[in-house]
Symmetry: C2
Subunit: 217 residues, 2 copies
Amino acid sequence: MLQTADKPTSKREGLRRETLALILATAERIFAEHGFKGATMQAIADEAKLPKANLHYYFPTKQALYRQVVERIFNIWLDAAESFDTEASPEDALGTYIRKKMEISRSHPYGSKVWANEVIHGAPIIHDYLETTLTEWTESRIEVIERWMAEGLIDAVDPRHLLYMIWSTTQHYADFSHQITTLNGGVPFDDAQWAQATECVTNIILKGIGVRRGVPS
Amino acid sequence: MLQTADKPTSKREGLRRETLALILATAERIFAEHGFKGATMQAIADEAKLPKANLHYYFPTKQALYRQVVERIFNIWLDAAESFDTEASPEDALGTYIRKKMEISRSHPYGSKVWANEVIHGAPIIHDYLETTLTEWTESRIEVIERWMAEGLIDAVDPRHLLYMIWSTTQHYADFSHQITTLNGGVPFDDAQWAQATECVTNIILKGIGVRRGVPS
DNA sequence: AATTCTTTTGACCAACTGGTCAGGTTGACG
DNA sequence: CGTCAACCTGACCAGTTGGTCAAAAGAATT
């Protein structure tokens, strides 16, 4: 583990990092559970076992805290987006991407919910991301998908709708987890169920767009 | 149009009905745009051009108003659920159901958003619906889908995941309309785009589960 | 040990919001 | 026309909440 030589992580800096992480993680959960307006600084402070004034020391306003939470989530989304390999075969590129998104739904359910909330309410905070990064990424992948279509590797489908289907289906398992748990007898998915869900979603989508599968490279 | 004979809709009754409808429609929009906590009675009153106290005359509390909004939405959902004909072929039953759900996403975007919001936040109000009506309906349709599988009309897939996919994909067009509009150049879908989206979603899902299509009955 | 900078915290405040209420208005009905 | 019940509404109130602040506590540096 290298460390920037002139910054040997003082006790202060370490604590600061820890506190920041604690606040952000707690805020993410509370925002996910109650929405932006429904979440109170007091509730976040209580859950993090910090005095409310301490939160305002690190984040001047509720909006600033919220914004950081959303930015963290966007980076996770970007990470998954990277796994959509434009060089790979449709099966590999889409399969990997879908699996990655399912993993995120499992590992970051709160983040996903915050993101969903934000978009449902008209994306007042993240509108710029949608117009810049998301639009660019989407267009680059549309090109790839259209190339696959031209090469006869998949059926002719509107790439946008394919992407929407992947987004909605995978995120559904995080955003609507309460509904899914209820229909699962009140018990959250276990490992096997997550694996099965991932496989099932991947299979239906890939088959649905006529991907030739299992073709050795 | 028949009318209950002994109730010739007095001026008062008519106005009452109109006011109730106005409040509910306005509330649905405001709740969709700001969430339960973010929506204020004052905002709903202003949008409906009524004094706030008048809202409280018709609905004693904010919760009561919200509950009615959610119940209305649930009835629309039930209406679509009915269109899942257990007697029809997989292609007809699922195709009709998907199309109906897409229509609802277009005609009731606010309702869909309120519902999504509610489920994301743990369904504090509608939990009973999920456990009773939704569970029963889901199980009845799972049986039908399993019958189709046994008869070789569709591939072997977990019926639950198929239903989740239909729900998430169709509702995505309502709940995430802001994202979709942004990726559509800032312009909402027109008639042709809605038709194309519906066709595309239907095709991918039906093909994805190996439905034999266009088979004459 | 003294000094300086960062961090922590309880007490406080102004703005907002759900809900109330008393009094006024309007339609129904004899 | 008079009476009554349903309906409407401005003014008000109590509880909540985001944010402030001054003072205390703690770390870093000399």
